[in-house]
Amino acid sequence: MRIFPKDMKEIILTIDGSKVTVPEGTTVLEAACSAGIYIPTLCSDEGLEPYGACRMCIVEIDGIKGLPTSCTTAVSDGMTVRTDTEEVNKVRRMICEMLIADHPADCLSCSSNQKCELQKVASYLGVTQQRLEKTKRESILDNSNPFFGRDLSKCILCGRCVRACREIRGVGAIDIAGRGDASHIATITDVPISESVCESCGECVDRCPVGALAVKTEILPPTREVKTLCPYCGCGCGLVLGVRGGRIVSIRGDTDNVVNRGSLCVKGRFGLDFVGAHDRLTTPLIRRNGKLEKASWAEALELVASRFREIKDKAGPDALAGFSSAKCTNEENYVFQKFMRAVLGTNNVDHCARLCHASTVAGLARAFGSGAMTNSIGEIEHADCIFVTGSNTTEAHPVIALKIKAAVQKHGASLILADPRRIDLARFAALHLRQRSGTDVALLNAMMNVIISEGLGNKDFIASRTEGFEEFKKSVEDAVPERAAEITGVPADLIRQAARMYAKAQRASIIYSMGITQHTTGTDNVLALANLAMITGNLGKESTGVNPLRGQNNVQGACDLGALPDVYPGYQKVDDPAIKKKFEDAWGGSLSEKPGLTLVEIMNAAAEKRVKGLYIMGENPMLSDPNLNHVKEALEHLEFLCVQDIFLSETAQLADVVLPAASFAEKDGTFTNTERRVQMVHKACEPPGEARQDWEIICELAARLGYAMPYRAPSGIMAEIASVTPIYAGISFDRLEENGLQWPCPDRSHPGTAVLHQAKFPCGKGKFHPTPFREAAELPDEQYPYLLTTGRYLYHFHTGTLSRRSAGLEIISPSAPFEINPGDAAREGVVEGDLVELATRRGVVRARAVLTERSPAGTIFMPFHFKEGAANMLTNDALDPVAKIPEFKVCAVRVSKLNP
């Protein structure tokens, strides 16, 4: 059902003798549906524009000639509708009979049997026999996609797939081709779907009313279904896992989930093979004589506890460190950091957020007092202007990209894209600013220079809600667009247009991600975006704000629950004596007031043997961290490394003890998505072998170290979280089943907070920070002439530990590529598919060339998912001075073609 504004005029009409009241603009079909009246239909579907193709929803309406389709007829006051007359049903039966005459009707062996909507309509209309002569059609099968098959002979041309692909996904891989009885669903020139622009999201398969599109692996239906959350990115999409015999046999989007309303990307819908993978860890492993061998839980836990105790006694608690996991639940992250702090006695706990959004947390905390997405995902669709920078949203946050596309396609919003690469969103952008990587501050300062000098700022907001404006204003006085044009390569006029477009919008939303944060100027980049939102007053209102998209399913939660070296859960400072006292009272014993080391600092300390013992839960620094040669050296220098994971990852292979853990599908708990929404994760199946819940393993270790953590279930852990974490104080499992809750949620009656900073900022007034432009730490030179930038592909996730266990995803995206501009490739004598050596001052990898205009001249792009061509062998571990985030997005690289 569409959502209408609250003040919409109400219309009263009569349907089949009953009075029905609906908002103006509702269709007759929707009105009947809301009154519980069934009208058969085949082409109408949730979220798609009315189409009127199947003619099945025809009704009689007094005063309207003929039989109008109820899906395309808007209600009007006093309308009288009859949906179930003999005349109407006679025509419907005829349409149905013609459809069936042109349909194989091989229901007994069709995978859509019982789910088929044509079957349902035929049954409702009482069409039992095939009265009309059957058409003869060749079976046209397209099995080229690894996940789903297309059988066009079963197609009824309702157009749902075409419309879903275009209207909802903004892709348009298919359309109706031909004319008359030759009409059919086609890709361009009827090539197999795998050769089209299809992104394999499966939205079309989900919406096909018959069996023309079917998931290849869904043969037997599940015996039960479990609602949970997708384990990939930070969107937080709801999943419904179908389980049969303890295994996942079907996956669909949860249409009740407020985040995704049933939509998923290829990874969520088809990429969960890893849960049932044959190489899951099933027993603990202990290194004996240099080899990892199977061991019992008692043996392994005792060894870990005794080694941690030894190191602590010998070298002090700060010789120990732990990496928590943005893939684990909130409850597990809470227990992990509590273990590090209360049991081992160190604040040396961090996780991969250091590598993605540390600069967001640092920057937004300084500007606003809180480092998270200010607004909600659903609001994006209703912004007038969306400024996306440093986010390849289509590939990294596919379902959030749908909201951006909808804002542009359905509601006419203007999209400003600032990204060096010509990413997919460029198709939807009114303006595309291709700044040189690492010059974001110069670009943003120039936009603000224009806004201030042209008087487009929001003076009331600046006066009443912010401080430090005058000093800031001086800092951008010289940042004229012409100067920025020289630095960034973006024409001055384009910078002016972008500034005006953003400033003049009623509701402008900033969306950014790692293209902003992963720089040595990451904190400045974030502060500059905060400045931009503040001078235009785009904060504290719906569809505005500064919105960092978080990378992992629960990276927001891992930060919220204190898996950071300087804060307890809820961003409470470890060096604040009152806070320390509160946690000492809650946890018992004394805690360290000394902020711990950050992730890259822990690696450096390990290399220098200051950190001797490391406990890693669900992370793979051997692929995810910058400068991998250095990471390997650091891990090898450790006296003791314990890795808790679901697979023997590149990092686990170096461990002294490996502990087998449960995957998301085998857990209860909560994840917090990028819009601060705490949602429920439900257990669908049992962990394999002896694998155990992460929180249970930590509790066992704590017990062996003499500290009782007597939790019985994740719900009890959440109760403890709520008692010590003000922003989570009102959260408990019983409140989360429907739509979850967005923090801050200070008490049990609080409905959660969709928009932050509505009346004031947590730090009182918003603070402007001048951000003078600085260059990246390493720039191209004669020796290393190209700029290397890294990022994600749609088809894989992070280090590939999960996504690369999907056979289908591996077929679509099999090996390590790098992207190079055709002009640069010609200069280097490189052609498409060439194996090329890429070298930086830190390492060398080999990868295959992809020639594309997506890469600007002089820039090479490499995804970091592939161990056989690991981008992070090349990346620079230079750090942002404030947030300690490494500069993944800029370094200098050399390209040399290998002799064949």
Partner: protein, 153 residues
């Protein structure tokens, strides 16, 4: 597609704004310049108009006037409408098929001839009718048809 075809397409685009309602005139211009609408041209048009390439294909396949393959130098159309059918249109078609060695919708290997069947030219008084490169020949016989084909080079 050849370099000069690509240049011709760029030249055609320069006369348009990039609005989606320009699709059909652009397709007509491209076919005029290239002789048909190659796949690469459809992709270029899709990017120019910012519409899905599958939609361009949908329009191209909807209208009989657009061709997806390179056409012959001479276009032979034989009417199979009611009047021509009654007066032996089918025999004319068979004769032409035999002479050229192709079926309707096909083009000879030397790209000299393309053959099409048409439902009616509106010249029923002249039935049976064959149209060659836009010129109509009425009251035609198999022999006359063959002679006309032979006279073309």
């Amino acid at each position: 597609m050849q370099t000069n075809d690509r240049q011709a397409i760029q030249q055609i685009f320069s006369g348009y704004q990039g609005q989606r309602n320009e699709l059909i005139p652009i397709l007509q211009d491209v076919q005029g310049a290239v002789g048909y609408v190659p796949r690469e041209a459809m992709t270029k048009i899709a990017h120019f108009l910012n519409i899905p390439e599958s939609s361009v294909y949908g329009v191209v396949t909807f209208y009989a006037q657009f061709y997806l393959t390179r056409q012959g130098k001479h276009k032979i159309r034989v009417c199979q409408g009611t009047a021509c059918h009654v007066r032996g249109g089918r025999r004319i078609m068979q004769a032409v098929e035999k002479k050229l060695g192709i079926k309707p919708g096909e083009t000879t290997a030397d790209y000299k001839f393309s053959l099409e069947r048409v439902a009616c030219f509106g010249s029923c008084a002249l039935a049976p009718v064959m149209v060659v490169d836009g010129k109509a020949y009425g009251r035609i016989t198999s022999q006359k048809a063959e002679k006309i084909l032979e006279s073309l080079n």
